[in-house]
Amino acid sequence: MSGLPILDISGLCKSYGAVRAVDGIDLHVNRGEICGLIGPNGSGKSTFFDCVTGLAKPSAGAVKLDGQDITGWSLNDIAREGRMLRSFQKTVVFSALDIEENLVIAGQMFTFPGIWSTFGIGAAARNRVAALRERARELIQIAGLWDVRFQPAGKLSGGQQKLIQFASMLMPEPKLILLDEPMAGINPKLIERVVDSIRLANTSFGVSFLIIEHNIDVVTSLCKRVVVLDQGRKLAEGTPDEIVQNQAVREAYLGG
């Protein structure tokens, strides 16, 4: 059980007409691991993410989550299980709602047994929401957003929105989180905070991560293993040190 990787992807392909955006990628994420995914723009990282998380249907290949075949499931089918969640490259929050509401929404479908029970107005429903609020407040405190928690999420800075998104994903206690460029467009001080949050979620909550990131310092400090994509194929795989030394990777992506 514990030897089995949490996410096991084999031969994943996605073509748009004649273009093979993702061309036969094998990748796995071990339990408790933080795995990095890097590559130049247009190398197929985001398409790969979309195929794994159900936002796009893969043309071929298999995706196994926790030993279960989830190939071709929709984004919602996968999300509803609460085991694997993802962030989006363009940060999105429920902008008219405050942080606490954002987090409560993110946890609701994992607390209520079905859609009908969410229409409940009795004590049972209220207790469930109260428990969600409790957890939301804990996570808001961990994320360092306590002072702004009643502000509409859309009014906050890009970095703070990233933190909201990250905290939202921890609401259902997932086993695996896929982050699409979590550090893009945020200032260095907040980068540290996001890195700390990822590390904390990994060590304290036992969440595994697969992270697309261009900031190579972040990748080397967080990840034990890095996979490099180029033109829809896997170019290299190894420890951060090996990747930085790899000649092919330097030519295709890192430069110099």
């Binding site: 998380t53 936002l55 929709s74 984004l75 919602n76 999300a79 509803r80 299980e81 609460g82 969640l85 993802r86 989006f88 999105v92 929050v93 429920f94 902008s95 008219a96 709602l97 405050d98 606490e100 509401e101 409560v104 929404i105 993110a106 609701q108 479908m109 994992f110 209520f112 859609i115 969410t118 229409f119 409940g120 107005i121 429903a125 469930r128 929401v129 407040r137 009643f150 502000q151 509409p152 939202s168 609401m171 259902p172």
Partner: protein
């Protein structure tokens, strides 16, 4: 400590209305009391205008759940309004069933019809969905015109009885304007309560999430399609109940009940009053439906005046009157 902070700050989720000693409760109670004694000092014509406004409040509440809370623009409300009116009228004319049976049946039938209509329609996105719902109104009117054996076509169904209640041997009929006013008032109040409970439930929060960002809502596990279908059905039920009241009030239904004009009226109530707020929609139906009724005294100028009024609204209150109501509350709070 959190409670203290909560009192000082404003949460967007509570529609930017500050909590704390709430003036809205006494104000609402005052309005309710005023509504109860209104027949004492209002003549029949203003009372009639209010009755029409309260009848339209039902489909407007439904549309508000769909548009204001879930973010789906539907023009189908007039279709469901018409279906409710015809269902109720046909039951009353053919079977002589009491009002509450017709009323509840109208809601159930429209809800049941909304299900097969919603399943394909909600697969469509944005503009296509709007066009599809527009089609429902046109098809509804065509059916009402041409299924003559059932609907008597353009002649419509006349002599729909006034609401009558029968419990065992006792029965009574709501006949006068005042009686109907109280009947509609009670139903409108119950409908408003129902909407309040829906939007305050966890489901209401999920609906807002869908309005704000559907893909994000899906990624946090909300089955958006199922919610949209359920809300579409609920909104249809509200419209059907409104149609039933309409049929029993006017005592006539005709294919004109399926008017695009009614759909736009409901849209104006919701957008003009303030989509995503309950008080805005109540205010909107009283203002916009009451206004058109009031403008009937100058029929040839009526639509022109109404048009100019709507233009002014769009320019000066692009979010409807709800923000204005909100400002009114904060003004009162500051004066205290």
């Amino acid at each position: 400590m959190t409670e203290i902070v909560r009192d000082q700050t404003v949460t967007a989720a509570e529609h930017k209305v500050a909590t704390g000693p709430d003036l809205r409760v006494p104000f609402g109670l005052g309005l309710a009391a005023l509504a109860c004694v209104a027949p004492l000092f209002l003549g029949n014509y203003p009372l009639h205008a209010i009755i029409i406004a309260l009848i339209f409040l039902l489909p407007a509440h439904g549309l508000n759940l769909l548009l204001g809370y879930t973010g789906l623009l539907s023009l189908a409300q007039a279709a469901f309004f018409g279906i409710g009116a015809y269902a109720s009228a046909l039951l009353a004319v053919h079977f002589g069933t009491p009002f509450y049976v017709n009323f509840l049946a109208a809601g159930l039938i429209t809800g049941a019809i909304a299900l097969p209509l919603g399943i394909p329609a909600l697969r469509l996105r944005s503009t296509s969905f709007v066009m599809c719902t527009l089609g429902f109104v046109i098809i509804g009117q065509a059916i009402a015109k041409n299924w003559i054996s059932l609907t008597r076509g353009d002649m419509g169904l006349a002599a729909v009885p006034r609401p009558y209640f029968a419990l065992g041997p006792a029965s009574f009929t709501v006949s006068g304007t005042v009686g109907f006013y109280y009947l509609v008032l009670v139903i409108a109040a119950l409908a408003t309560l129902a909407v309040y409970l829906i939007v305050r439930s966890p489901a209401g929060r999920n609906m807002i999430a869908i309005r704000e960002n559907e893909t994000l809502a899906e990624s946090v596990g909300i089955p958006t399609w199922h919610y949209k279908l359920v809300v579409f059905m609920i909104s249809a039920i509200f419209a059907g109940l409104g149609g039933s009241l309409y049929a029993h009030y006017l005592t006539v239904v005709s294919p004109l009940t399926f008017q695009m004009y009614y759909s736009t009226t409901m849209l104006i109530i919701v957008l003009g009053g303030g989509a995503g707020t309950i008080s805005g929609v109540i205010f909107g139906s009283l203002l916009f439906v009451g206004l058109t009724e009031a403008l009937r005294v100058a029929p040839e100028l009526r639509m022109i005046a109404y048009g100019f009024f709507l233009l002014a609204l769009v320019f000066y209150f692009p979010n409807g009157f709800a923000p204005l109501i909100g400002r009114f509350w904060s003004f009162l709070e500051r004066r205290k």
